[in-house]
Amino acid sequence: MSGECIRVVGPRLRVGIVGAYLAARWLEPGRILELSPEPEEEHGEFLTRPNVHRFHGEIGLPIEKVMERCGGAPAFCTPAECADGATNLPFSAIGLANRGVDFHQYWLRADQICDQPELMEFSLSLALDRAASPAPASRIAQLPVEFGVRLDRALYGGALIAFAEECGARTIGDEGGCLTIDCSDAGGAPQWTGDAISVGQIPQLPGMEWHILSSMVQRLVGLTAPLAASNPERDEWNRLAAAQSERMGDMLELLSIDDPLATERLALRRKVEVFGACGRIPSEDYEVFTQSEWLAALWFRGLRPRRYHRMADNMVEAELIDWMEQLRTQIGQITKEITGQVQAA
């Protein structure tokens, strides 16, 4: 394998994501980056997760600029189809943790004292998503929420490929001896063997396509440039990719399985059991989804903790109920303000 040549093949948008990163972070004189994208990319919505800001920061192509060109909009959650219907998994925390105790522990206690609005009503992310306000990213960035970006597939793919070309990538040619990154759905797990990297099967859940491709290429550059990679780097790449697939697999199973308690996936079963016992959500190494996404998914599947954590007793009843009301009011005010600003503009 040549240490100095990479070829990226597959669907246009995917080649764009991988190619743009390699062009900005890996390509330098004496190296060749060859992009072989499929000619067309269909228009349609493409969801990036909150790490899109870091990704674009690293390549020096501000996401705000891309949003202007491609008509992007902030995205606050992962839309998911479940066995029980459709739901949204918020990127940011639901409610506010207090004195080291997760908000949902307080909510459970408050709900025992008097009926509370649904837990998800305390999510600013979901409120902003419902408001569907096209507020500019610069304004959203001032809010205490993580957000990704929804973009048009064809426009975003085109912008990234153009950027890669500006950085020196070639879109023609057939350089021999390259490391080939195949971004097509190949089935199975992501794998690096010899001179070929396959991104494997990409789950249908929105945001996963972005996450797999962006993290795959970031990991590749972080681990193995130049490409005279020795076994430790390749093994590590495969290990990390496999761990990521497992974490995605856990979420997909939670969303799709009839009875989450019957899962045979060990890490998922642990999440289900520990959450049911005490409301805590165990974290595994290399999680893909945030704690709030897991909480929303578990909640939507009808799982509830049998008790709240004792530390949620650290607030007197009246103070707790008042705090819950204040939080809801603040969420309403923020959402209204954002929507109002846009309408006024």
């Binding site: 330098e28 590590e236 520990v274 005490c278 008790r307 530390m311 007793d313």
Partner: protein, 517 residues
Amino acid sequence: MDDLVDDLAGGAVKRVVIAGGGTAGWMTAAALAKIVSPSGVAITLVESEAIGTVGVGEATIPPIMKFNTQLGIDEHTFVKETQATYKLGIEFVDWGGLNQAYFHPFGRYGFDLEGIDFHQYWSRLKSQGETHGLDEYSINIRAAYAGKFLRPEPDHGAVIGQLGYAYHFDASLYAAFLRRLAESLGVTRIEGRIERVEQDGESGLISALDLDSDRRIEGDLFIDCTGFRGLLIDGTFASKHIDWSHWLPCNRAVAVACEKIADPVPYTRSTAREAGWQWRIPLQHRTGNGHVYCDEYLTAEQAEETLLANLDGAPVSSPNHLRFRTGHREQFWAGNCIAIGLASGFLEPLESTSIHLIQMGIAKLIALFPQSRDAAVERAEYNRLMRDDFTHVRDFLILHYKATKRDDAPFWDYVREMEIPESLAQKMALMQSRGRFFKYDAELFDVTSWLAVAEGQGWGPQGYNPVAGGLSDQNVCQSLANMRSTYAKAAAAMPTHQAYIERFCKAAPTSFSMEKS
């Protein structure tokens, strides 16, 4: 509703009984009293003054600050009352090879450039013949070797802001300090010797501790802080010991305190010896010393002789000999008993992790605090998390032995050639190849720590990640020169460690005759 069900079934956890005082016992008591007691849980601690404490773990690592902060402890008061000094890291002498030394700092190296790790640029310059060592890019190391200290405050800027620190303290004074705090928070202390552990005939759970003078202490949840004996976890539940002595063969230690002969330095020193290593921990009133060794290669007499021959000052206590087994309980939490501290397992204090592992046990117990006595799910999760903590620390400790080039003694030949866990082999290979490091979520030591030890012992990166090739040589050279200069100036401007202590947290003089070794 579940509370009611638990109450009716007599299974609700309302009474926690801690068996054993010492550092682990009182840390646990204080934390539970502060955080869990307000929800109606009574905390009782049983200890006997007739049973001594081991008292290891006088040196700590930065996360202890979080523990103290959560308890509302004022740092300067704590430093005064425990004869503490500040700790900026650990100096390792003769580990990579004889007459070699390096420093493991608690603060990071350098500043990243263009989003690329600093050490990749440093490796790039090194590959071009640049000779400035990592030490010159660490405010911790600069300050430590200059005998300086300053507590970083928000307005101190980015350089001083990198200063990470912990403490050296007298563990018995820390336990006493926490005892006062815990008792003020409502913990009941009972002086007595545990003679029998009562178990429920049906469930097998512990129901009470029988003490001398026919006293009986009932409880719902029991914390075993009885040290190596593991009176409850081993005696009652026979939780199997997972043995790691084939990777960490040291199994004995001898400890002694000596007179302080100069102002205390703000770092621990670990010096490799013929069949183990020796620690030196400077406190305000004296210096703690110990020799950890493997008795297959060294007798107790030889170990003591080596220790006494290498003290800074005259000994002020009799040498105290200890035996230990490296490893941990298979079940840290069994039935309604949770082992914390030495009862849960032991890893030699090479990286000052003993108190940290206590802290981790307490934090996880609080996060998973059970509603009822038989909490199978919480128990399983606690055991998994603690196993992970021990395993991650274990790998980092083994690195110090495996990465040696010493061939002057059979002990070092063994550790240099031994098989190591796959998880460690993978990390070492990646670090050595191009300085890459991937941290597990729950892993304690980060890239700074791994890089310090690997580079310090001659296993540092052989190459660098060419993403660090983007800036020109001139730019990188200038940036790194600026960093060196900035660190040197910042360290020079800091007060001395002693001056800082004198000004803010000087302890009262103490009599050596009052101390435990």
